[in-house]
Symmetry: D2
């Protein structure tokens, strides 16, 4: 068992308090790391302050060089990293490999952005007293960034904070999820060997009450949080004088319009519904199917679902495995039971076996059931029909407190335009499930699903502070 | 009869050679202007050189103020200008009024662009030897601009050269068409009363051989020509060291796909086919109709066409009037006859009455006929069916030497995507005829239809020369 | 005495609680308005919700038309509005007139931005699984905006929230300062006559505890606050799920380098120091003068200061008048006394006469004195020498908790570069005082001076929410 | 002796006509390649037509992958390529190595641009009839590109056409200089091993009269020419219907203002004057020195110049070697003699030894001498004083038919602003010689120095054709 030290102040350290990380499939201890205490956190913040001027002075060449190095090393260590990620999260290895590749790509995109940081050159001579006046707006690194990332994409969602911080020239302190700190700590070793100033990137597993010091400390200028809506919104009120970006969850919907070939889209739908057992912020949770297609959709969907392979996530063919822990498995089971008790019908699945939940298709669901109205974060979906008028489908998809992404299957221009203009989300995915995310696109939600956008370029923008020279 | 003097060097002048401008409907003399000789042209170029530094020094405030003034005055004099334009061009008064409004709007858009001229602020520190190096790119007026504009939009196509030149800070010498110089000379009076440096805008009717001196003179830095392909491409070879933009013609096509309500689109189609008797660069000349809709389309189109009102363009209800001159009417008549002799079938129209040509719908046409393969610049269209596969329609629409715009009626996303990606034109107009142009959009063709784009922002860009400060 | 009704839900209303607005020079009651209660506020929020879809559907043409109308009407009513503003704020009439003109200009700039709202078209095909994938990012109005504006620019700082909201398509509820609600309520009458949906713009004077409901209500999506740092930062913690922009104050500094002609800059310095008696967020409060110029600067500055005319703000020649109220006059007087007691030397001024404070130049000041370390918001400045090394001056100018703007007088490229890169502010004004603001530029501070930027384009950006269509 | 085949239609070919390439230092034959005849050229154009749809369909991922591969391979083969380049051009090896690195970097920059090709999303709803109308502007590859590149940067100036063409998705036919075709043909081998469609990049050495077919053929849509003004402008008149970009030469100037430390800048000046014996388009040919610094500048410059090492370009310490051929050496010698005969004074150098010309500093020169008024393309410079007023220096620097770049050494903001605004060039280099070029910056001249700009992003832009979708 390899242990993983905390990465702070440019050093790999241990603390008084260790953290055992389980194999989420075998449920046995797999590795050990440590939890940072308040003292170490404060030292880390001080250290970041101290080296801020070095970070600010990095040329785009130096930042690009580091980011490309990290990207390449991640690809070189792909198998090792994917295995680690799979074990700590019970994520099937093919998905784990895809996540590692996406992380490498996210660093690559950040490298490309380094010499394209926003810069403006403005005419200010459009008023009588402005003759000859111009403005130069340069965007400087905002200062220390704090990142808090969740368990479901242990590496890539951390990378979406680390890579932009490097490109922007900001020191960053990242708190990974306590379930899954190892992938990020493995990344720390790669970063340590790059040419970045030591201490620019810090990975500190912490208990939540220590982590909140990150939120309240005014020497930190930006908090980027990815996690549950409940915690996210609470942190906002505690965030002091800093900027805050919140990437929270949802109960994303899918519309399947009349003019669609069900057989051709079913694999995408199964992916959206059950990839990583639905433990994805943009999990496709609610499906609205044109009434003429409803029966065939249900049939095809069930057929495809029951063939999904469950098992050890390290096996190449495994498609489903344990949820992250028993607490969550019990919760999902309870929500299914609540739905059934209120009239929902189980098309397939519905059972819990230890920490594993069968992929579950429900129908006859509605907003009174948690499986429909809350974020399930499990392999459970609701499939309902709509009467064929796209407005009905949009009304249903919007009837939620969340607004992250949605998927719309249609070949009709007028239907797609209506959907894009009226569905209340951050992203509409055409002919695909909402579970699709490209690392370069603006990503984030409205309503209770979040505040602001990630996506490398957009995350970098938030980490910069404009300064104008009027001359 | 009001006469219109040449506007050069900030003065209204006459020359030894007068030009009588006819009423294109009554065919009687309507007004008089003068033709600039080579001497006056050379003086004008010299004068532009002399005041170039004043033009270059104009603040965006000063340019905006002038452009807004001109825009407002055009609207104030709308009726008078429209009447003038209608008489000199035989353009029905409702279209003439629309053109005047568009011209006012083009000046307004140019006013908005003044403080948004391109400016770049670049990082150059993405190479090892570039640490700390930045670039400021400022776009300066390129120098004297020459514009040559055609008869069919006597005012607006001149405005699309004049308004950008003012916004860019360039002196301009505009040669209007000899058929229709009056609207532009009327505009000169408005411009003269603005706060612009006298001599910045010059309107010089000229014979073609004098106009060619504009093309060859190397003190002129940009030639913007709108007119026939034949002349345009010839000018390019004579254009010396200057930049050149060519807005030429075409034989634009329209596709009507299966999923379209013919009744709802027929008015747009009639507009595209017969507005200003087809004397429009983006006249809808070739229609490709899904086979299932073909018969009903022909029927509806014919019904709508035969009700069009012809007559004196000054009458409010007139929709069709004379072509610009007898030469063109004879040419169009001859082309129709050639087509019929090669097998084309006349659905309606086909006759010439003096300078008037009936709105003519042909079918059974093909690429061997001039009405199909050349730019007709008259009220004649070809309607053909296609077999229902959008690829067939695209193949037909692309089978021409021209490539200006096209119209595509469809509600299918996949069809529209295919059309946009593969039709060889400068613009694809969705659910409308190619005859649609917004003054703010990039406008221009490929293949033999032109070089470069107009549209206020794009025209301004061509009139600027970048200069980088590396620091 | 003309009264001014509350403007809410598209109507001019009164409430149970009236608010008497004094003439700030005579200290006598001048006019009456009313204070909105919680009930009216809630109704207004509901009304905004109801008409949001109308606001969202406004074309850029409709928004532009309204904004240009408002801009023109402000200019037409310039004298009347300036007089009103001068009386309610004791702002000298020449400054009041300038503010009215700037407000008209801010609406004009917003009109220009309407068809330039951010829109993105992205390639997402830079990953193996992205072949053919593109993204369209459209920016939609964020929802209801709340604005809170201060007394010192009663009209223009409200306009910097209202005009962007209109351009963005957002309903807005603006709370003007209770000292000076009248100019904004006069503006409401103009807005009411525009073509905007009734109820899109609402002007509600309120007591602070009612105003805080604006801050906490989650149906409001953005709070834009301009005012004191103390209140601003407190509001942030109460702002619930909404975005927040804070434009707070500072104690801006000026550097005068060696190679500067003191006589030529003294008028700018006097303007920065004493315009509107220093009641300006970007008041030039701390001057750092190259040691070789120090004595002559003090002498010239004093000479120019003692000639300033005080009196009734409505008189054309008046340059100085009362502070906004006695409380503030007493506070400023107390701060001067504190400074003197700690060793500061008065070059001129220093006395209070009623609500009037003499323009006061101090030297021998330091960070232990409030006149130096806090925002004075009064006609008091500190002038100190620096040893000639620009780094010393920058160190002094940065030694504050604030960071809004600064002025740098120098002809040295290396000095200006050093200042721009290292002074911790939102804006560096070259060869002018920090008191300069162009309405189109990004404006705002860092450190305790604020969060985010205003300036029409930047304010609009904050009022928009991106939505991506992945296709 | 390794031979280098022509690279056309995805194959390495020979022709009937071979071309012996000399070692430009030993003057002995070094290698052999072949000259394409008209038939092969036509076949190549046809082949490019045939594969155009494949090139157009390349995703940015595929293009990026190829460009990064090429960039990396160039770096891997750096020594070999530099040696080849040095031998064929007599370029000292350190400069040759720098050129190879720049070429690798140019491919890297092009890779970064692939997913950032211009794309526009426009509001067109700013007119009454535009409600709801939007425009999507996609930029498609323009078609086949022809490149003609010169001997002085045999690889990098070809790369500045090839790399953008790949990024834009255009097939390219490049004609290298007959003096120096080998580096580019070596690059062809690398390109051949990338994943690009075979035949997308073609390298065809040709005699000039065959090369002109590239210019006249209308199937080629863009000609990008780098070379002498005389040939460039002639080609423009023959270029048919295609776009044309001309990167020509000049006689760049340098201003050294009063407030400059001569010792600190002398190495930069020597670099600008004598790097690659002045055979550089942006060779610093005319120096204008503030009168107070003139004597010390001359002295320092001479001291630095006489220590320059001449010899075999392959030797690491060599700084100067032969000119490209005897014809040019004789021409330069003749120009020096002409200057002396007209009164010029030789400070140092002036002699020809075979194909070698000593680094030559002249003074007392003027516009009547070719060394001053024409592009010398040899190691000869003119150093003159100016009276201390920057306007005098600018007047002198502008007194030429050329306008490529200039260098300005000053610390005065007002002087630099004056220079930037009034020197008639494409680029002003602050505190450096005009000989500086970063591969990402817009590069090109005005007046007789060219038309359009290169620099990866700018070159790509020219290779794209916009198409708007109005919807």
């Amino acid at each position: 068992m390899e242990n993983f030290k905390i990465y702070a102040k440019g050093k790999f350290l241990i603390s008084k308090q260790s953290l055992i990380v389980n194999n989420k499939y075998t449920l046995k201890p797999f590795s050990k790391t440590w939890l940072a205490d308040e003292n170490l956190l404060n030292q880390t913040i001080d250290f970041c302050q101290k080296i801020f001027s070095q970070c600010l002075a990095l040329s785009s060449y130096q930042k690009k060089e580091a980011l490309l190095y990290i990207s390449q090393q991640i690809l070189i260590q792909k198998s090792k990293l994917a295995r680690l990620l799979s074990i700590e999260s019970a994520k099937p290895i093919t998905y784990a490999l895809a996540e590692i590749e996406r992380s490498a790509n996210a660093f690559y995109i950040a490298a490309e952005e380094c010499s394209r940081l926003p810069k403006e050159y403005l005419s200010l001579d459009n008023v009588p007293n402005g003759i000859g006046v111009e403005g130069i707006v340069k965007y400087f690194p905002i200062g220390i960034v704090a990142g808090i990332s969740p368990f479901n994409f242990p590496l890539n969602l951390a990378v979406h904070k680390i890579a932009p911080a490097i490109a922007a020239g900001c020191p960053i302190i990242l708190k990974p999820a306590s379930y899954t700190p190892l992938s990020t700590l493995a990344l720390a070793k790669i970063i340590h060997n790059s040419n970045l100033p030591k201490g620019m990137v810090n990975i500190l597993p912490m208990e939540r009450h220590i982590g909140e010091k990150l939120v309240t400390n005014n020497n930190i200028k930006l908090l980027s949080f990815t996690g549950s809506p409940e915690i996210g919104w609470d942190l906002k009120s505690k965030s002091g004088k800093k900027k805050i970006v919140l990437e929270l969850g949802g109960n994303a919907g899918v519309i399947v319009s009349k003019n669609v070939n069900v057989k051709k889209i079913i694999n995408k739908c199964v992916y959206g519904a059950f990839a990583y057992s639905g433990q994805i912020c943009i999990h496709a949770q609610r499906f609205f199917i044109h009434e003429e297609l409803f029966n065939s959709f249900i049939k095809e969907f069930k057929n495809a679902t029951v063939t999904l392979k469950k098992g050890n996530p390290l096996h190449k063919n495994t498609q489903l495995s344990n949820l992250i822990d028993e607490k969550n498995a019990l919760r999902v089971e309870a929500w299914i039971k609540e739905a059934v008790s209120k009239g929902a019908q189980i098309i397939c699945g519905g059972k819990r076996i230890g920490n594993y939940i069968e992929p579950t298709i429900l129908t006859n669901t509605n907003n009174s059931m948690k499986v429909y109205s809350e974020e399930i974060f499990g392999p459970v979906i609701c499939v309902e029909k709509y009467d064929g008028d796209i407005k009905t489908a949009v009304k249903k998809i919007n009837d939620t407190k969340y607004g992250l992404q949605c998927g719309v299957f249609t070949d009709s221009i007028s239907e797609l335009n209506y959907c894009f203009n009226t569905i209340e989300v951050g992203g509409v995915i055409h002919n695909h499930v909402p579970t699709l995310r490209f690392d370069a696109m603006p990503y984030g939600g409205i309503k209770e699903s979040g505040l602001g956008r990630e996506g490398i370029k957009y995350a970098i923008f938030d980490m910069l502070e404009p300064k104008i020279l009027v001359k």
